[in-house]
């Protein structure tokens, strides 16, 4: 692939921290508390962000038990674009406590793009049970939706072109030091045409 090396930082580590804190407050506000709240991150970065959100929720309301109220929801087996993306070993799906029935599930992902990942996550949820409410929290919404899906809680709205690649760099996944975590945009060379399905680059959720 031909790619120009042009990269720009759009969120710093402290920007990300503040965004997560704000999202945590929004979640508590819109849910009117923490009762029946379940955070499910979409692997791999969504799982980490869900855990960090859980820690913040516990600070806001000590009644929130991150162990019992955060988990992960792998969507690999529910995707409709596996052929285009290639096989991936599924990450574990971990549903804590009493399961999802009747809960307010907040799906957490790093980047919202086409909406296909979220659609797959909704299918996966359906196979696990019947939540009362499903909400969506993302660190970055970069636009270019291909499905009627919107986020309830957004860290940053980021206007992008399809040729750009949005990456969220996290300590646990990418090995960058915590203080150097960031959201970056890489601009591909003009010669690389956008994929037909609008499929995102690795690291950017659909």
């Amino acid at each position: 692939m031909t790619r120009s090396p042009e990269t720009s930082h759009v969120m710093s580590a402290s920007d990300m921290d503040r965004a997560l804190t704000r999202i945590a407050h929004e979640i508590v506000e819109s849910h009117r508390g923490i009762e029946g709240l379940l955070l499910l991150g979409i692997p791999r970065r969504g799982t980490i962000l869900a855990r960090r959100l859980g820690e913040r929720l516990a600070r806001i309301d000590p009644g929130f038990d991150p162990e019992q109220s955060t988990g992960s929801l792998d969507i690999t087996l529910y995707r409709d674009d596996l052929r285009a993306h290639g096989a991936r070993t599924p990450e574990p799906t971990k549903i804590p406590g009493a399961g999802i029935d009747g809960a307010t599930v907040v799906l957490v992902d790093d980047v919202l793009y086409s909406g296909r990942t979220v659609r797959a996550a909704l299918d996966a949820l359906q196979a696990l049970g019947r939540p009362a409410v499903v909400r969506l929290a993302v660190l970055v919404d970069r636009g270019h939706r291909e499905l009627p899906i919107r986020s309830d809680h957004v860290g940053k709205n980021l206007p992008t072109s399809r040729e750009e690649r949005v990456s969220v760099l996290l300590d646990e996944v990418d090995g960058v030091p915590r203080e150097e975590e960031a959201v970056v945009i890489q601009r591909h060379a003009a010669t690389s045409s956008p994929p037909a399905t609008g499929s995102p680059a690795a690291g950017g959720g659909c």
């Binding site: 087996l77 529910y78 596996l82 574990p92 799906t93 196979a127 696990l128």
Partner: protein, 331 residues
């Protein structure tokens, strides 16, 4: 990975990827909704040139849980001499729109030939070819062994290999596709392998294989640093090998190489390094009273039913990984 033909082709990473995926598939099997949409609209053909109801229904269950359409094609007895050639059969399936061919064949190498041919673009899964290999059986055995091996240590099976585990494979190594596939995979996963058989049932050149060889089961059961194995895999003795061609009588075979009640007691009293009892595996169907006593067949140490359910998980994993592979032309 484009096809699954032999465990010798699998790297450690690939093998672990299949096993880890199988763990997730196993988790799905415990859910209320056991079906996944993964292979919706894809067609899997079970092409069986040899009867094997167990293997066929296991693949069928796996494909159906992934929402694939399944066609069963029984071509038993078919060969060039009897009419339709493998080539014509496969081209027919290709024309019908198959995406994957799961093939059981009496001829060693048939799956490899199919994969190498230009007869089809399908992903080819070897469901047992002659006396060559049976890779999904070895993968389900590995999944079973890994579950037990990590459980004894209180570890998560995901990502774990079998380093340090000692596995004995007992019986007709010469004619066993299960043994061959297991040997290569167990070695790739870091296990030590001991083969136990009469010399007539070991292939020429086995000395060069990365295994230890025992003619005596009793000696094998007492070997190793822990004074015993971590798992014993008993192979089925085929009726046609009895009757004096490879060993004198079934009774002599049982006395020398069978998992008898005495040997079962010895295993029951043995503790692995992790403090667990050794596992007993059998690819089934068991010949009770020949290679395995009734008590050993029914022992809680015997994993045979777990092996069956792991078979579905492993085959789901293989179908998922092969059919969603980006190497396949999607144009």
């Amino acid at each position: 990975m484009r096809h699954l033909l032999s465990t010798a082709d699998l790297s450690r990473t690939e093998a672990l990827s299949i096993l880890d995926t199988a763990e997730e598939m196993a988790a799905v099997s415990t859910r209320e909704v056991k079906k996944l949409p993964t292979l919706r609209g894809r067609t899997v053909v079970n092409l069986f040139f040899e009867d094997s109801t167990r293997t066929r229904i296991s693949f069928e269950a796996a494909a159906k849980r992934l929402s694939a359409d399944v066609m069963n094609f029984s071509a038993k007895g078919s060969s060039v001499s009897k009419g339709e050639s493998l080539k014509d059969t496969v081209q027919t399936l290709e024309a019908i729109g198959a995406d994957a061919i799961v093939m059981r064949h009496w001829a060693s190498g048939a799956a490899a030939q199919l994969a190498a041919s230009d007869w089809t673009d399908c992903a080819v899964i070897n469901a047992g070819d002659g006396t060559h290999e049976h890779p999904t059986q070895a993968l389900l055995d590995a999944l079973t062994l890994r579950r037990g091996w990590t459980a004894a240590r209180g570890e998560d099976p995901r990502g774990a290999d079998l380093a340090g585990m000692r596995v004995l494979i007992v019986g007709d190594i010469l004619h066993s596709r299960v043994a061959r596939s297991n040997i290569w995979l167990l070695r790739t996963l870091g296990a030590e392998v001991g083969l136990v058989a009469p010399a007539t049932l070991l292939p020429v050149g086995v000395q060069k294989w990365p295994v230890s060889v025992f003619y005596s089961l009793d000696e094998a059961l007492a070997s190793g640093p822990a004074g015993g194995p971590d798992a014993v895999m008993m192979l089925r003795v085929q009726a046609e090998r009895m009757g004096g061609a490879y060993f004198p009588t079934a009774a002599e075979y049982t006395r020398r190489w069978g998992l008898t009640d005495d040997r079962l007691a010895q295993l029951e009293n043995h503790r692995t390094a992790a403090g667990a009892q050794p596992m007993i595996l059998h690819p089934g169907p068991m010949n009770r009273g020949v290679e395995i006593s009734a008590a050993a067949a029914d022992s809680p140490m015997n994993q045979v039913l777990d092996q069956v359910s792991h078979g579905v998980s492993v085959r789901m994993a293989v179908l998922h990984l092969l059919l969603s592979s980006s190497e396949r032309n999607t144009a």
